[in-house]
Symmetry: D3
Subunit: 125 residues, 6 copies
Amino acid sequence: MTTEERAKRGGEVIRSLNNGQPQPNLERMREEFPFLAEATEAYALGDVWSRPGLDTRTRQLAAVAAFAAIGETAFMKIHAGYALNAGVSEDELKEIVYMVTVPAGFPRAITAARTLSELFAERRP
Amino acid sequence: MTTEERAKRGGEVIRSLNNGQPQPNLERMREEFPFLAEATEAYALGDVWSRPGLDTRTRQLAAVAAFAAIGETAFMKIHAGYALNAGVSEDELKEIVYMVTVPAGFPRAITAARTLSELFAERRP
Amino acid sequence: MTTEERAKRGGEVIRSLNNGQPQPNLERMREEFPFLAEATEAYALGDVWSRPGLDTRTRQLAAVAAFAAIGETAFMKIHAGYALNAGVSEDELKEIVYMVTVPAGFPRAITAARTLSELFAERRP
Amino acid sequence: MTTEERAKRGGEVIRSLNNGQPQPNLERMREEFPFLAEATEAYALGDVWSRPGLDTRTRQLAAVAAFAAIGETAFMKIHAGYALNAGVSEDELKEIVYMVTVPAGFPRAITAARTLSELFAERRP
Amino acid sequence: MTTEERAKRGGEVIRSLNNGQPQPNLERMREEFPFLAEATEAYALGDVWSRPGLDTRTRQLAAVAAFAAIGETAFMKIHAGYALNAGVSEDELKEIVYMVTVPAGFPRAITAARTLSELFAERRP
Amino acid sequence: MTTEERAKRGGEVIRSLNNGQPQPNLERMREEFPFLAEATEAYALGDVWSRPGLDTRTRQLAAVAAFAAIGETAFMKIHAGYALNAGVSEDELKEIVYMVTVPAGFPRAITAARTLSELFAERRP
């Protein structure tokens, strides 16, 4: 598979996670940091996120747990949105946040909870 | 619910995850650090891990992702063992490790991979 | 002790630290993340922070050191405020920040210093 | 060498990195956190950053890598500015960010990329 | 104050913390990493740890909390030993570990507990 | 470029860094974690480490700084060995370690120093 094909596959992964839309942060990065945009698209999304061994719901819940545990809440928010798009419920995301108190402590979990609150509010009609 | 009941529920969670056995590290901690043993049993396992909102497979995969992302491989190994006991396949655990390269980088994923290799070898008959 | 009693004890710990007031962030969390609010109140504050083995001043200074060292400055600010309420001086909090350069480096200490500056300014009449 | 001489040497290091100007954040810290300002000036800049064993370009690129990898982007931005002042090109800073995906994962690298974008834009005439 | 005087002051701080003995790890570092040994002695111990604004017990308990929260258990062990030398009780150190579950999660606290167990055992006659 | 070509390029990068030898840890990973071995080879080494925008000495010194700052000393040791192979001096590596005290604190720098001591000793005839 060529890098171009991998990037194309990554673009398809994004649109399948993001209700058919491209990811605006990735698009903005393309001009000034082209290799990082390509690596995100071809490696992170095209290679890793397209792998068939985990269903989308499970991968997104595990990714939300990892992003919350390391304190990367902006990325957690994007992936929690993808999780909701894939049919994960708000309550399941809350359970991930509750679980994160154990490996990573209360500040990481409370910050993740606030970020999910924002996400839930933004998606309400 | 009293603390005693919560600790009892935590003990049941451990045995259900650990093929009916208690967790030896927790038992060792009980004498010298009684509050930490109680908090692990009553809060971490009794309160958090007994919640019904996530099935055991999903919670264990998300916990493995979180422990691997923050570099807590000894805890990742214990929870990966619980995941295998709950019917998660070795291949699904490998997919979690592959995913961890994206949020947390290659050293965390490679260290997690080596730890899973040890776990898999220890469980082979 | 029941969970309700532990949460009540946690509420008393907060009010004793916070000049008789509830903690507004905790109250906001109660509706959308009820288990996390309960865990913070019953476990973190009710179980851990009510323990008699450390006086309030020492526990708050150690907690400020821990929150500063891991970069959780919003939580550091709350606990530094509790420390001031308990009679810790601004100068003692500054000493904690100076000490944090050694275990955690200059960025964590400088960020903590800025956060303490904000806190001190907010509390000036 | 006395502490006063070390601090003076640190002040010279800053001005040589910062186009002849003092560092405003350091000046602000001087009144309220005098020991931290002195430690930054005398130890971090005066002792460490004045050492002759690395040329300025290499030290700044390595420092940018370290600050980016630990997620301290405000400090990364300051040191990336010093790097540009020392003749490092924007493209070399981008290469550091690309490299950071490997040790520290994509969120740290993407956040560093956005911070560099801000820095580059602020310096455009 | 000259660097030599600061290093001498640091050596006195170590001996006052360490029952009159030098710190063997620091001595080993002196030949191959002379600047790091000097910085540890003159800055970390001579400048920071000699400051009069915190009593030894409080500084050591706060330092143990910080080292435990960031997972630097070898350094936590050294400073917990200094704490015991300064009259801190084993029970007070245990309280610090219990507190660390809140900011930094259970793995960091449990690992710190095991390290304290080793330290306590090594010091038993 | 196909993934096979990228992996081949990564293999060449390793051999050019490692005195013509393959990297034994990578080879061991190939059987049980084939995607992680491929990602390390094709992405980390083939895509990132083969980029021409930084010379090998600068990239290795920046990578050593990043690995040391995040506490990944096993990976730091491998990349410090590659740095020595590329003509970086022991003294330049020591300067990186001294610098790391500023962004990441003394424990990370002291641990990195011990790891470099091991590496230097292993390479002495």
